[in-house]
């Protein structure tokens, strides 16, 4: 039995905002199944008494003095935008018909 079905892959693609084609779905469903079955090995040794490690080196929060430092200008910030208008990012409509 596959770990993950084609429908589940389609659902994942939606969650990840990837408008994948039917062809891509056919290909990914099989590949993701093989990968997930393989990586599931981790459950063999992940006993309850083993603490998780999220970072290689122990981290503590880093603060800096609350002083103004140079940042990007408005022009720089917008320089890579696919569309800009009146000094702002221009985006497609946010709300759908039904919202």
């Amino acid at each position: 039995m596959p770990t993950i079905s084609r429908d589940e892959v389609a659902h994942l693609a939606r969650l990840a905002r990837l408008a994948v084609t039917e062809q891509e779905l056919d290909k990914f469903a099989g590949q993701l199944d093989i990968i997930l079955q393989s990586v599931a090995q981790v459950t063999e040794v992940a006993a309850d008494d083993v603490p998780p490690t999220s970072h290689a080196v122990p981290l503590t929060n880093v603060f800096r003095d609350d002083v103004v430092r140079p940042g990007l200008t408005q022009q720089q910030a917008l320089s890579g935008a696919p569309a800009a208008e009146d000094g702002r990012f221009r985006v497609p409509r946010i709300l759908g018909e039904e919202q």
Binding site: L12, R17, V39, A40, A46, V50, P51, A56, G80, P82
Partner: protein
């Protein structure tokens, strides 16, 4: 080919300071070499000839004025992986998503290198967003291995490794998340170093897997890598994970190592890095390297790291999970391409269409695996378990370093494989990272140095040397001692055996 392109970075810097050659001549020789061979190798995505020559002129003016050199690498050309931002050139990460994107700021390491007088020749090809082991995942076509143009140069930093092996640059920058500096180094007969996590600033690197990503030096000799390491290393307040400690004295360690005396040092051979999947040509080269280390006076001990066999699985859950989150920023709103914005579609629809058009198959696979592993109901089994394996691997390392000062293994189980061989089989591609991933998960430093060519196919093999966190000096010392002894026994550096490339003009 100009003899200048055959010299090491240290030699070039010395000649420039001695006024035997100008930095501009050095830069021009490398730009000419790129024009000659890059149509075949395709190591570069962008060549910054004008700014490189301007940087070289500034170094020459310094020399003429009798000023102290900005660094021991002043005037030396370098190839910069396209995941690192530099103003005045595009940063694409090998992705259509960022095609033509000009970053409005420099990465900290870019700033440090420019201040050190290093001349940045251009941006090198890579697997898209550093996901891959062959550069075949680049949206701009693969890079080819100068040892055999039908084979892969490793990945993700295959552009950087190929640029070194093709004598297009004596120095390069790579980034290593699971092996992307070391494995390309191994398959091209060059040196690649992944510093301790946090040892080199990540500010200005496009993030893939933030708890693993680490930039590092690539070169043709251990000394050149060490010189570059000292330029780029050190604390950066702009990177919250940057280690606030002095840069390890790796150049001094190389000088000490070059004497060729490893007496008193214990070197651990990791038992688990052998067996199925390891090519005989790789194992013969590796075993010979171990014997050479023994002959230099090191004590060789066998160590067992029983959980390393789970490292690959843990990595291919942790890295995709972090990437699914990091790559959410590519939403078609603030930078990168936008597809399907016809005035009717919603932001979400445009976002989905853009991400489908902008990302290649491997990036999509990893985003979906990460999305799956982080979703409720699966989180504990997948991501949670992978984090526990990370603990077990750290414990394995701790036990191993009680018996040995450094650990060694082959860098990757095979020599460079043919282009196309693994593109339809993601799991086979992932196996290229088998030996490099444990040190990545633990955050430890590790490097690859060329060992003897494989007797089977005549291609380069890499010796991986690993050390505990912040103990870079140990690993550089061993690498330098090995390099000297290897070159002596083999009649010169391995890189001298790379075949002459056909010149395009």
């Amino acid at each position: 080919m100009s003899e200048l392109t055959r010299l090491t970075a240290a030699e070039l810097a010395a000649k420039i300071q001695a006024k035997e050659v100008s930095a501009v001549e050095v830069a021009q020789a490398h730009l000419d070499r790129i024009a000659d061979v890059d149509p075949a190798v395709h190591a570069f995505l962008h060549v910054s000839a004008e700014s490189a020559l301007a940087q070289a002129r500034a170094v020459d003016e310094d020399v003429a004025a009798g000023n102290q050199p900005a660094s021991p690498l002043a005037g030396v050309p370098l190839a910069l992986k396209d995941v690192v931002t530099m103003q005045g050139a595009p940063t694409t990460c090998g992705s259509k998503m960022l095609e033509g994107w000009h970053p409005p700021y420099d990465a900290t390491i870019t700033t440090k290198m420019l201040e050190a007088g290093i001349v940045i020749l251009g941006k090198t090809n890579m697997d898209e967003f550093a996901m891959g082991s062959s550069t075949e995942n680049s949206a701009y076509g693969p890079t080819r291995n100068p040892w055999d143009l039908d084979r892969i140069p490793g990945g993700s930093g295959g552009g950087s490794s190929a640029a070194l092996a093709a004598f297009e640059a004596p120095l390069a920058i790579g980034t290593d998340t699971g092996g992307s500096i070391r494995q390309p180094g191994a398959v091209t007969g060059t040196v690649g170093v992944k510093p301790t996590y946090g040892g080199v600033s990540r500010y200005g690197l496009v993030a893939f897997s933030s708890s693993l990503d680490q930039a590092g030096p690539c070169a043709r000799t251990v000394m050149d890598a060490a010189l570059l390491h000292e330029v780029i290393g050190g604390h950066d307040p702009l990177d919250a994970t940057s280690i606030d400690e002095p840069v390890p004295a790796v150049v001094q360690a190389v000088r000490e190592g070059s004497i060729g005396d490893l007496r008193g040092l214990k070197i651990g051979v990791v038992k688990e890095f052998s067996g199925d999947g390891y090519e005989p040509g790789v194992m013969v080269s590796f075993n010979e390297a171990v014997e050479r280390l023994r002959s230099l006076g090191a004590e060789i001990v066998e160590v067992s790291c029983p959980h390393f066999k789970y490292a690959l699985s843990a990595y291919y859950l942790i890295a995709p999970s972090e990437c699914s989150s990091n790559l959410a920023r590519f939403d078609a709103m603030r930078y990168g391409i936008r597809v399907g914005d016809n005035g009717e579609r919603s932001a979400e629809e445009v976002m989905s269409l853009t991400r489908d058009a902008g990302f290649g198959p491997e990036v999509k696979r990893r985003i979906m695996i990460g999305t799956y592993a982080l979703s409720s109901g699966y989180y504990d089994a997948y991501y949670g378990s992978a984090q526990k394996v990370r603990t077990l691997i750290k414990r394995d390392f701790e036990a191993a370093y009680e018996k040995a000062d450094v650990l060694v293994s082959p860098t990757t189980p095979t020599t460079a494989f043919p282009l196309g061989e693994r593109t339809d089989n993601p799991m086979a591609m992932y196996l290229a990272d088998l030996c490099t991933i444990p040190a990545s998960l633990a955050g430890h430093p590790a490097m690859s140095v060329p060992s003897r060519l494989s007797g089977v196919d005549g291609l380069p093999v890499g010796l991986q040397i690993m050390a505990p966190a912040l103990q870079e000096t140990r690993m550089y010392r061993v690498a330098a001692a090995y390099e000297v002894a290897r070159n002596e026994a083999d009649g010169g550096p391995l890189i001298n055996r790379v075949p002459e490339l056909e010149v395009a003009r």
